[in-house]
């Protein structure tokens, strides 16, 4: 018995492949999602995330490989029990928020209680507003409400917070936390590393149609990155003499200097020995964004 066969995840994807012409968009990708877990799929544009997700959602057919939902091939039950939130979906014109929710609930046999749905997605204040007159954050909450109208067991969220202001993002995160607390399984694609780090139990980083790393955010950081980053403000750039500095350093956003080190104490001692002004110095642990850039080279490619 293989590991795959032994897995009792709600969703098991095994060796799926998708080719468009001569371009292999997804190349033997496998993963498994446990009940109640949030699985994050990260990667630069064109990495194959959307193709992978659309195959799992049943919108695209795979060239080869298997996709099992609750250990079975996906049938009508799959569509009854999953919820999908696409990025940038248009809403029905001329309908109010409430009418939209009612319409989508009625497409399913199983339904989440309407009041609970409205309360969970914080839609009380805009229930009677025309879909065309709601803000970006409200639209994302409505799209999420439409995706969970059937009280799904497995939820796909495709970049749900892209383009939202920080407050609206936090609102979305709160809803996702509540869904996780209800033991819902979630597949999340996002470009925001902080979002993935906060929401996901497991993440997979994808590039060129393949998974290049998979695991919990903590384990991945442990495995691929350790130590910390020291950020020196741009004001010290000209005076700083970093020639022959023992640790790697880069010019980053706003002309700040970032130094990556395993040994913060020695690094600070070296900086002081070079009489560099440490006013405004920030020391932060290495995060998922560092890992992402390291693995995908996205900073160079984009």
């Amino acid at each position: 018995m293989t590991i795959f066969e032994a897995t009792q995840g709600i969703l098991n994807v095994k060796q799926i492949v998708k080719t468009f012409g001569h371009f292999k968009a997804v190349d033997h990708v496998s993963f498994s999602i446990e009940k109640g877990a949030c699985y994050g799929l990260l990667g630069p544009n064109g990495a194959g995330k959307t193709t992978t997700i659309e195959m799992v959602e049943g919108l695209l057919s795979q060239d080869s490989g298997d996709i099992l939902y609750k250990q079975e091939k996906r049938g009508r039950r799959f569509y009854e029990e999953v919820g999908i939130q696409f990025q940038n979906t248009e809403l029905p014109h001329y309908l109010t928020v409430r009418e939209t929710l009612i319409t989508f609930r009625n497409l399913y046999q199983r339904k989440m209680d309407l009041d609970e749905l409205i309360s969970l997605c914080k839609l009380e204040d805009i229930l009677h507003q025309d879909n065309r007159k709601i803000s970006g954050g409200q639209k994302q909450r409505l799209l999420l409400a439409m995706a969970i109208a059937n009280d799904p067991e497995l939820l796909f969220l495709d970049e749900p917070t892209t383009g939202l202001d920080p407050q609206a993002r936090r609102h979305l995160w709160d809803i996702v936390f509540q869904l996780k607390s209800k033991n819902k399984s979630i597949v999340l694609t996002t470009h925001y590393m902080d979002e993935a780090q906060i929401l996901c139990d497991t993440i997979a980083i994808m590039d060129h149609g393949m998974f290049i790393a998979e695991g919990s955010p903590h384990d991945l950081l442990e495995e691929h990155l350790s130590g910390a980053s020291l950020i020196l403000p741009s004001a010290v750039k000209d005076q700083a003499n970093l020639e022959g500095f023992p640790w790697p350093w880069f010019i980053v956003r706003e002309n700040n200097i970032e130094i990556q080190t395993q040994d913060v104490s020695s690094c600070l001692a070296e900086l002081m020995s070079r009489h560099i002004d440490l006013t405004g110095l920030i020391v932060r642990p290495r995060n998922l964004e560092d890992l992402y850039i390291k693995l995908t080279g996205q900073a160079l490619r984009n």
Binding site: E57, G58, L59, R76, Y79, E80, V82, I84, F86, N88, T89, E90, L91, P92, F104, L107, Y108, Q109, M146
Partner: protein, 345 residues
């Protein structure tokens, strides 16, 4: 600054249009097709603007009448259709299939008093008088004549339903496919045929509602009556509406360009409007034109509705029209479901 913004959008839109090969190709091809179609159907030799039935012999022994007939026949845009049977010809005239009947043998002519075309043809005839007192003599139609507005009205209703059905659904489906709304629906348990049926029913409901309002309003204003059963009229409008909407859905089954959809829908709508007898009868047209007209659902809708409203026809009289509309609806719906795609390519 305003000009720069306008110019920027002007250039961008032009690029969009010119790079959408299908729409560009269609916008060039469509006028050619219309011109070609009209030149085939409405050449002077094949179809005139006015149709005159010639009863019995085509020549008169009376020199005065023969002289008037010869000069009248030289008038342009007339088509002369021979008839042997008086009753058949009169029936065509009563139902605006003919604009005039001439009997060279007896020196008589008949027109429909309520038809604008009849009025003009009579003026043409009388502008070519024979010797005084020796020309064609006017005779009155015996029995009931269908008033022109009552003959025209089912055609106008049918045409309205055709545009509402084709564009009201076809166009919306294409827009929903383009903006991702259909893709969103595809991620629910709904099946393609369920979605299509819901769209058909919704549109048919609104079409029948608006048709009822137009019918009521016009009936009040022009005081005409339906001589047949309202229930039967509702049935033929229902089937006609379904066939039009299903046809629109079939056209929109895969398209994601609104401009191409508009072109294709126009290509269907315009020939139907001209060849289904909305404005004029196809009496005197070439046989292939009449045969082609039978392939259009609008023809059956209008002919059936006219028979019910103008002649009080019953279910059995219009069974062929009902059957054809039913078959067309089922075929269009089946093909539409078969070819339907949720996502744009």
């Amino acid at each position: 600054m305003v000009f720069i913004r306008i110019w920027a959008l002007f250039v961008a839109r032009n690029k969009e249009f010119l790079r959408d090969r299908s729409s560009l190709g269609w916008s060039i091809l469509f006028p050619f097709l219309v011109i070609a179609g009209f030149s085939l159907m409405f050449t002077e030799n094949s179809r005139g603007m006015y149709t005159v039935g010639i009863l019995g012999k085509t020549m008169s022994n009376d020199p005065g009448i023969e002289d008037q007939l010869q000069r009248f026949q030289k008038t342009r845009f007339l088509v002369l259709v021979p008839f042997d049977d008086f009753d058949t010809a009169i029936d065509k005239l009563k139902h605006h299939g003919l604009d005039m009947i001439l009997s060279p043998e007896s020196g008589e002519y008949w027109i429909s008093e309520s038809s604008p075309s009849s009025y003009i043809v009579e003026k043409m005839l009388l502008s070519n008088p024979g010797e005084p007192g020796k020309g064609f003599a006017k005779r009155v139609i015996k029995g009931r004549e269908v008033p022109y507005v009552e003959w025209l009205f089912p055609g106008i209703l049918g045409m309205n339903m055709m545009f509402a059905g084709l564009f009201g659904v076809g166009f919306v489906v294409v827009r929903y496919r383009k903006n991702g709304m259909l893709k969103r629906l595809s991620a629910t348990p709904i099946r393609a045929h369920e979605y299509l049926v819901s769209q058909v029913l919704s549109r048919v409901f609104t079409m029948l509602l608006t048709t009822a309002v137009v019918y009521g309003g016009c009936s009040f204003l022009y005081h005409f009556t339906c001589r047949g059963s309202y229930l039967l009229l509702l049935l033929i409008f229902f089937l006609g509406a379904i066939s039009m909407v299903a046809m629109g859905l079939l056209v929109a089954a895969r398209l994601s360009s609104e401009e191409l959809a508009s072109g294709l829908l126009n290509m269907i709508a315009w020939p139907m409007m001209f060849l289904s007898g909305v404005w004029f009868s196809l009496e005197g047209s070439k046989p292939w034109v009449k045969t082609l007209a039978q392939a259009f659902p609008l023809t059956h809708l209008i002919e059936g509705a006219r028979q019910i409203m103008n002649d009080g026809a019953g279910f059995w009289d219009i069974r062929i029209h009902l059957l054809v509309l039913l078959i067309m609806s089922l075929v269009f719906l089946a093909l539409g479901s078969l070819f339907f795609e949720w996502k744009k390519h």
